[in-house]
């Protein structure tokens, strides 16, 4: 397995505060990697730098062998790194189908085509993704009318539809019911195994983290303090002290 995503000496400083402090992260092709740590550990900032939403103060981000440091979010997405957001972030007045179609069209670089009809374009490809995340029944509903869990599933569908090699999930089960959480875990597992996607996610639910991660990276105060397979991380004394405590 080759390296898919690699950060080298990544720093993001806000004034004197180092939100991300010298992070070297190596994610292999095909693995499910989680990033954990207490609130304010720098997980979301790290994701924002990787996806181009923030420009790093120092360091580099390489994806699939190419330097993507400081590239704009839409360029990063075109490289094959798609993101599902922590806060539900969909298109309220558009149907599930329209939203996913738009993502498929973006992948095909056909969004500035004004000669064909959108409701015919990319319909099959969009429906396939909608089926994968289990939203077929609500495909014709506007996103604003969906339940929280369904909106999160749509969020993942949008990221998937851009045809990524790496899917970046920011707290995919936040605010979900136990049943919805289970469905999400199944979905992520399925995406990684069946489609060969690489998944990088951060999450506070340790049951989810330990259930699906191949490897876990632990962050604290902007730094990586531990990394390894779940069993190693569970037994790491520093990790237990700063974060896990009596959670496991």
């Amino acid at each position: 397995m080759g390296v898919l995503l690699e950060t080298h000496g990544l720093v993001k400083a806000f004034g004197g505060f180092h939100a991300v402090d010298n992070v070297d992260l190596v994610v292999n092709d095909g693995e499910i990697r989680s990033v954990i740590g207490p609130n304010g550990a720098g997980k979301t900032t790290l994701f924002n730098v990787v996806t181009g939403h923030l420009r790093p103060t120092h360091g580099h981000v390489r994806f699939a062998g190419e330097d993507i440091t400081g590239k704009s979010p839409h360029t990063v997405t075109r490289h094959g790194l798609a993101r599902a957001f922590q806060i539900t972030n969909v298109f309220p007045r558009m149907t599930v189908l329209e939203s996913v179609q738009c993502a498929v069209l973006a992948r095909r670089r056909r969004t500035s085509d004004f000669v064909t009809w959108y409701h015919r374009s990319a319909r099959d490809a969009a429906m396939e993704v909608i089926e994968a995340v289990g939203l077929v029944e609500v495909a014709e509903q506007e996103a604003r009318t969906l339940s929280h869990g369904d909106q999160r599933a749509l969020e993942v569908a949008l990221a998937l539809a851009t045809g990524p090699r790496l899917l970046l999930l920011d707290e995919p089960t936040a605010g979900m019911s136990p049943w919805e959480t289970e469905r999400t875990v199944e979905l992520v597992r399925d995406l990684a195994r069946a489609r060969g996607l690489t998944v990088l996610f951060c999450e506070h639910d340790m049951n989810v983290v330990f259930a699906i991660s191949d490897r876990i990276t632990v962050m604290h105060q902007g730094r990586v303090i531990a990394e390894g397979v779940p069993e190693e991380v569970r037994q790491n004394e520093e990790v237990v002290r700063v974060y896990l405590g009596d959670q496991v």
Binding site: A82, F91, C102, A103, A106, R107, T111, S112, W117, A159
Partner: protein, 319 residues
């Protein structure tokens, strides 16, 4: 079928009216058509793109001046100017949009306003070319088009074809993407959409068709003067779109009809037309935010009713 049926019926009615209406009334209707096209073209930005531009009169006025000034200075045939005007509108929109779209929301609105004031001043002061405040008047359109009925049918045909093209644009992948950007700019960007480029493209298309609406104005008035570029003129299509409904394609056209005839009706009784307009706008924004076009369906009436009740209830609780 329903979507096609209504517009086709409307076109048939308008053609019949061109044979039966007295000239003065036909000219009012011609005015409505030009305003409708101006509004629908502006609404590509407003309703579909979520971009509030207060400078669309620049393109409208430019369209009118291309016909009038090229006739006055170069004796350019109308048909050449007719083709040239939307091209000029697109080019000017490219320049304005490229700069204004670097900013967002209020700053974008203010920049478009600033540009339009700039062009207004040019039209007013560049006396040698635009004849300043006096404007350009004369027989700048073919004599055939100067006949009321032929002129009306021409304006109708141009409006219908232009709207068909604009409708096609809104129903294309580009139109869908434009809506996605309106709904959630950051998310669209994360999908790999180049937001700036799509908004610029929409701005150019809108500019071209606003200029075409300006040409229709010339067919109606055979004149061009600086007031066409005034910022209050930019307000017209925005108001009309809000009244008619900016989330439906023909909403702004409905708004244009109501605006024109409402205006004509009200000034028969009072000179305070602006006051009535203000009240109507207030009622629409409060009770039917989807605009009058939203009231074409039963669901629209129900939503409006629910809004009225909820506002009354809140008032009762406060009082």
């Amino acid at each position: 079928m329903r979507r096609v049926g209504l517009p086709v019926a409307l076109i048939v009615v308008l053609v019949v009216l061109s044979y039966t209406l007295p000239t003065s009334r036909l000219l009012v209707l011609e005015n409505v058509l030009a305003l409708a096209l101006f509004a629908v073209a502006t609404n590509l930005l407003l309703g579909y793109g979520g971009l509030v531009s207060f400078g669309q009169a620049s393109f409208y006025g430019l369209g009118a001046y291309v016909v009038a000034a090229s006739w006055a200075h170069y004796k350019t045939p109308f048909w050449v100017a007719f083709i040239l005007a939307p091209v000029a509108g697109a080019v000017l929109a490219l320049v304005v949009g490229a700069l204004a779209l670097r900013t967002r929301r209020l700053y974008f609105a203010l920049l478009t306003l600033a540009f339009s004031q700039l062009f207004f001043t040019v039209a007013e002061k560049w006396y040698g070319f635009t004849q300043g405040d006096n404007g350009i008047f004369g027989t700048m359109i073919p004599s055939k088009l100067a006949e009321p009925q032929a002129g009306f049918l021409f304006v109708l045909a141009v409006t219908v074809i232009a709207m068909l093209i604009l409708w096609k644009v809104t129903e294309s992948p580009f139109g869908l993407t434009l809506r996605a950007i309106r709904e959630n700019r950051e998310r669209a960007e994360a999908l790999g959409v180049n937001v700036y480029w799509h908004q610029l493209l929409a701005f150019i298309i809108s500019g071209a068709f606003c200029a075409l609406a300006g040409v229709l104005f010339v067919v109606h008035d055979q004149a061009a003067y600086p007031q066409l570029l005034d910022w209050t003129k930019s307000g017209d299509p925005v108001l009309v779109s809000v009244i008619g409904g900016m989330y439906t394609f023909l909403g702004p056209a409905v708004g244009a009809l109501v605006y024109q005839y409402g205006h004509d009706l009200i000034i028969e009784y009072t000179t305070h037309w602006q006051l009535v307009l203000g009240i109507v706008l207030l009622a629409i924004v409060l009770f039917v935010p989807d605009g009058l076009a939203g009231l074409f369906s039963l669901a629209g009436w129900r939503r409006a009713g629910a809004r009225v009740r909820s506002i009354l209830r809140r008032q009762a609780e406060v009082g």
